[in-house]
Amino acid sequence: MSTTPQVTVGEMLRRNGVSRRAFIKFCTASASAMALPAWMGAAMAEQLRHAPRPSVVYLSFQECTGCFESFTRSFAPTIENLMFDVISLDYDDTLMAASGSAAEAALATAMKDNYGKYVLIVDGSIPTGAGGACCTAGGRSADMTLRAAAEGAAVILAVGTCASFGGIPFANPNPTNAWPVSGIVAGKPIINVSGCPPIPEVITGTLLQYVTTGKLPDLDENLRPKAYFGNTIHDRCYRRPFYDAGKFAKSFDDEGARSGWCLYELGCKGPTTYNACATMKWNDGTSFPIESGHGCLGCSEPDFWDKGSFYAAQSSADWNSAGETSPREVLELAGGTAAAGAVLGVGAAGMGRLRQHHSEKE
């Protein structure tokens, strides 16, 4: 991992024997994956050829490494393409061979040499409870490391729902007092690439788009690139026609579910989840969870873990801690309130009779 990225991307590609034609094809494919117009492919190629490979620092905090695993499974562009041809991945404690003080030195050098220019990728939430002791590396808490790294970053990519919105560590009762990147860092451009994990090509595509254009993509109100998070999964789902036709699977793996009927009644969160799963899919476009027969969990949305049961329809009642409602709870509520109503009614009737009695006497 180089810490002095002076070589331009074009030079690097020439050294690796990549032809201009192959490079333009790569850029066009990347632009297409990012839903950018076709002319952007040529513009990206031109920009990249003359640009020095930007330094990228990848920090992992309170996370499961699922996001990084996802990152390594990108097909267009692949992580090898990115690392060897487009970016200079100067620090990543999961991938790098160095460890201990050598790794810490690499991080410090990358931050110093590229101050104000490097791309900071953050994966995982940032625990601030117990003085930050829940997540430390090199004697520093995640909070301290993030603040120091964010200071010199040109842009921050919060990868995964934990870094974007706090994710599972942030869920009630949030025992580590975890925060998303946006809860810690202020005054820096942040791009949230949410998902648990995010789609690999969405991570690499967003990174590539920033690196090639030098500009932030259009973001939604949750700071997510609109190119990938502009539509709901439901809007692009292949089961959508069955929703429109009112054909709903009643249980997992019933005849309806196998025939591709809508999983809405089984708790699918596709209608309220903004992501590109239904179009980009996973494993080089092989499938996505709904295609495998399970409803969407809504993992790319804020607070998805606290939004009720994964298996209750979104139109259903959400009254208990499991995010569901049982007929027994309804009976208890109806019985209790009806009893109170009956007392009120008897009282009202008694008052009425009294009034009637008085008026009859008069």
Partner: protein, 219 residues
């Protein structure tokens, strides 16, 4: 907690509670009212006038032949939008999911396009009902805030439901939350307004029929 979580969580729970308490309160207060003692001698046996009362629930639910020309259109309008409402409420998939979560069992629904079509027809009939109320001098004179607000809140539920099912105008979660909140509002209003006719209409017809039968007027 987001708006949708609030709408289908605490707001729905509170509104169902108010609905149950309010309905039982109104029914109890109505059922325990002192009925003025009839001084006249009954013209029929008890069994006869009770059965006449029950018969009145059916006979009064249909226009009298003598008044068909005058009231038939209004009654047809009323029946049509009530039937539309029942079908839309009870046979739409997401509604069945909600009701199923409350009662513990579900039932087959109708295709969504059919429900959407019915909802549009019902909406049109609803507008017709308001038009009739506003243009008929007698109806206008009889109408008060209760009538208009009851019309408004029922209409709101229909309109927001259509928007949510068609994903029109805003994000689905916002539309669904607004729709559920409008239902919550309707449940809260239900016991205190004219929507209580759902519980009162049949008993009041039966009681009126029985009282009249006691005096010798057949249903």
């Amino acid at each position: 907690m987001d708006l949708l979580g609030f709408a289908r969580g605490p707001a729905l729970e509170v509104s169902v509670g108010i609905f149950c308490a309010g309905v039982v309160w109104r029914i109890a207060a109505f059922a325990l009212l002192k009925i003025r003692r009839e001084q006249s001698r009954p013209r029929q046996s008890v069994l006869r006038y009770v059965s006449e009362g029950l018969l009145a629930t059916a006979s009064r639910s249909w226009p009298h032949p003598e008044f068909t020309k005058r009231t038939g259109a209004g009654e047809a309008l009323g029946y049509s939008y009530h039937m539309g409402l029942f079908v839309v409420i009870l046979l739409y998939g997401p509604h069945i999911a909600l009701l199923g979560s409350l009662v513990g069992f579900t039932w087959p629904g109708l295709p969504s396009p059919l429900i959407t079509g019915l909802a549009v027809v019902t909406l049109t009939l609803f507008c017709g009902v308001l038009f009739r109320r506003l243009t008929s001098p007698v109806m206008r004179m009889l109408s008060n805030f209760d009538d208009y607000f009851t019309w408004f809140i029922t209409m709101l539920v229909l309109v927001t439901g259509l928007a949510a099912s068609a994903h029109l105008g805003a994000r689905y979660e916002t539309l669904l939350a607004i729709h559920i909140l409008s239902v919550d509002g309707l449940l809260v209003w239900f016991p205190f307004g004219k929507l209580m006719h759902a519980f009162y209409i049949m008993p009041s017809r039966a009681i009126n029929g029985a009282i009249l039968a006691r005096k010798g007027a057949p249903s």
